[in-house]
């Protein structure tokens, strides 16, 4: 795989910026028709949530259609069209989705097909290749991973109990949060480290393929309506204070304290095409590789293994396992249930 080791200048991102003719395209939050809705645009464009302004998808909103292939659509043709589309995207824009897991990728593609009001994958391909704005919207659909603050509280509890004592032995701690999306779990980790009095000697490198979600992560504003759920998660994750101390209500958003991102570097990095850029004591990559096929998962594990210090820690999502990768023998489980692994030697 290409190793260019550059942060914040992934080839694909550059290509998109070039295609968009802007260097700040990412700062523009998607406007009408470019939001993260579920395909409801064409069915009921009049219905708009307030939180659309933040561009964050609502959890559990009723959906008029399943974002899925129409029943009568020929399966083999669909596969061919999708392969052509992904090849086209790679060659025109530099984003490589060719090794993504087919079934989840397919759902996300159909969500965009319905939202653009077209009927076939080929019709979407036509729009994507000729209109960079459509590519920008599709990129959001394909690359935004929905998450929550303190998702899987048991993981954060295990992190406090088993990882924090190890971290205390380091004078300085470098953490890579790969595929951080809109940042909910980065802020969660920052809160945990502050409470454990480790934050001042830690630096979190939070990366994502998508500059738009990084802008949102930097802003640190999450929907106020989520705070009840997040507070429950926080308590179950072993939180030591009152969760509301960490944010200020701002209209329908919760603005998280700036001190939480003092030692966080948000930066663009593409796990598919970019290489290692430092050595880390802890790498978190939770529920990101589930969107990759096994071959790509293995390649990303190459990258993680090469980016960890000896005895460094790798934290995966609760239903991800090293068992199906070539790295099973290279790590030992520090906590098998919460998927916290330690690099051996």
């Amino acid at each position: 795989m290409p190793v260019n080791g550059r942060l914040g200048d992934g080839t694909g991102h550059w290509a998109l910026q070039r295609a968009l003719g802007t260097s700040a395209g990412a700062e523009r939050l998607p406007g009408k028709g470019a939001d993260l809705d579920d395909g409801a645009e064409t069915q009921n464009g009049g219905r708009r949530r307030k939180s659309d302004a933040l561009g964050i998808p609502a959890r559990g909103e009723a959906q008029p259609t399943l974002p899925d292939t129409p029943s009568e659509y020929p399966g083999e043709l669909e596969r061919l069209e999708i392969e052509l589309l992904l090849e086209g995207i790679f060659r025109q824009y530099g984003f490589d989705f060719r090794s993504y897991a087919f079934s989840s990728l397919k759902r996300r593609l159909w969500k965009r097909i319905y939202a653009e009001g077209v009927a076939t994958v080929s019709a979407l391909q036509d729009r994507v290749l000729h209109d960079p704005a459509v590519m920008e919207r599709l990129l959001l659909d394909l690359s935004i991973n929905v998450t929550a603050m303190f998702r899987d509280p048991g993981f954060y509890l295990a992190f406090r109990e088993q990882v924090v004592p190890l971290m205390r032995t380091y004078p300085f701690i470098r953490i890579w949060h790969a595929g951080c999306s809109t940042g909910e779990e980065v802020y969660s980790m920052a809160i945990l480290l502050q409470e454990e009095e480790l934050y001042d000697r830690a630096r979190i490198y939070a990366t994502d393929i998508n500059e738009v979600v990084l802008q949102r992560a930097r802003a640190g504003i999450f929907p106020l309506e989520k705070m009840q759920e997040y507070t429950q998660n926080y308590v179950r994750a072993g939180g030591k204070r009152s969760f509301s101390e960490y944010y200020t209500a701002l209209y329908d958003g919760a603005l998280f304290n700036a001190s939480l991102r003092r030692n966080v570097v948000f930066s663009q990095h593409n796990l598919v095409t970019d290489g290692s850029f430092a050595e880390f004591h802890v790498i978190l990559c939770r529920n990101v590789m589930i969107y990759f096929d096994r071959d790509l998962q293995n390649r990303v594990h190459d990258l993680f293994y090469a980016s960890l210090v000896p005895f460094g820690l790798l934290c995966l999502g609760s239903k991800e396992t090293l068992r199906f990768t070539r790295y099973e023998q290279r790590y030992e489980a520090l906590n098998l249930k919460e998927k916290i692994y330690r690099r051996m030697e």
Binding site: D38, P57, A58, R59, G60, E61, A62, Q63, L66, D68, T69, S71, E72, G75, A101, F102, S103, S104, R107, R108, N145, V146, T147, R151, N287, M289, I290, Y291, R294, Q297, G317, S318, K319, E320, T321, R323, F324
Partner: protein, 201 residues
């Protein structure tokens, strides 16, 4: 994947919260040596960790919660993990954290549709007790693609809504009292039955 033999290759089961007793009847009613892999999608809270254990207690088959990219193996019962969508590919599973569909993650429809796309016509869908309409669109897809459908007789369901919606969406489905469904599944193992709707119900 094992060598191709005639018959169905996957069973997908949808059940809503409160369906534990129904699941125990269904899974517990399958004989040792039942070889068609079964996938159970239940709406449940994020911290209900006992489901697999409770099903394992009553079944000679091996029951486990699905991990991402896990292979689909004959003779096993797979349970969808909470807070993920479970997608089926030919031979293995894929998980996703995409938004809930109609308030549910896992969504029964999402699993059923992907199972139909990957395995039809060699797939059987089963909808049991539940309080919403999840599962009916996915069951429709399974039958549209030549698969088979069972729906728990709403009269015998703890909560009728879900099987009622499913039976309405898929009039061809075979509607049976819960206890009979595992017997029928065991009986059709290794062979094909006529498509739904062509036999008297």
């Amino acid at each position: 994947m094992q060598a191709l033999a005639p018959g169905y290759r996957l069973i997908v089961v949808g059940v809503s919260a409160g369906g534990l007793a129904a699941l125990r009847t269904l899974v517990g009613g399958l004989p040792a040596g039942f070889s068609i892999p079964m996938v159970v999608v239940q709406h449940r809270s994020r911290d209900s960790e006992l489901l697999c254990e409770l099903l394992q207690e009553c079944s000679p088959l091996s029951v486990g919660e699905v991990n991402d990219k896990e292979e689909i193996t004959p003779g096993r019962v797979y349970v969808a993990p909470p807070d993920y969508h479970l997608l089926v590919e030919r031979g293995y599973f894929v998980l996703s954290t995409d938004e809930p569909v109609r308030y549910s993650r896992p969504s029964i429809d999402v699993t059923f549709v992907s199972a139909a796309d990957a395995y039809a016509p060699d797939v059987i869908g089963v909808v049991l007790t539940g309080a919403n309409a999840d599962g009916s669109r996915g069951l429709r897809r399974i039958v549209d693609k030549g698969g088979y459908a069972f729906v728990q007789d709403p009269a015998t369901a703890e909560v009728r809504a879900m099987p009622q919606f499913a039976a309405r969406a898929v009039p061809e489905a075979c509607v049976l009292p819960l206890e009979e469904i595992p017997l029928r599944l065991a009986a059709i193992q290794g062979r094909r039955v006529p498509p739904c709707g062509t036999v008297a119900r």
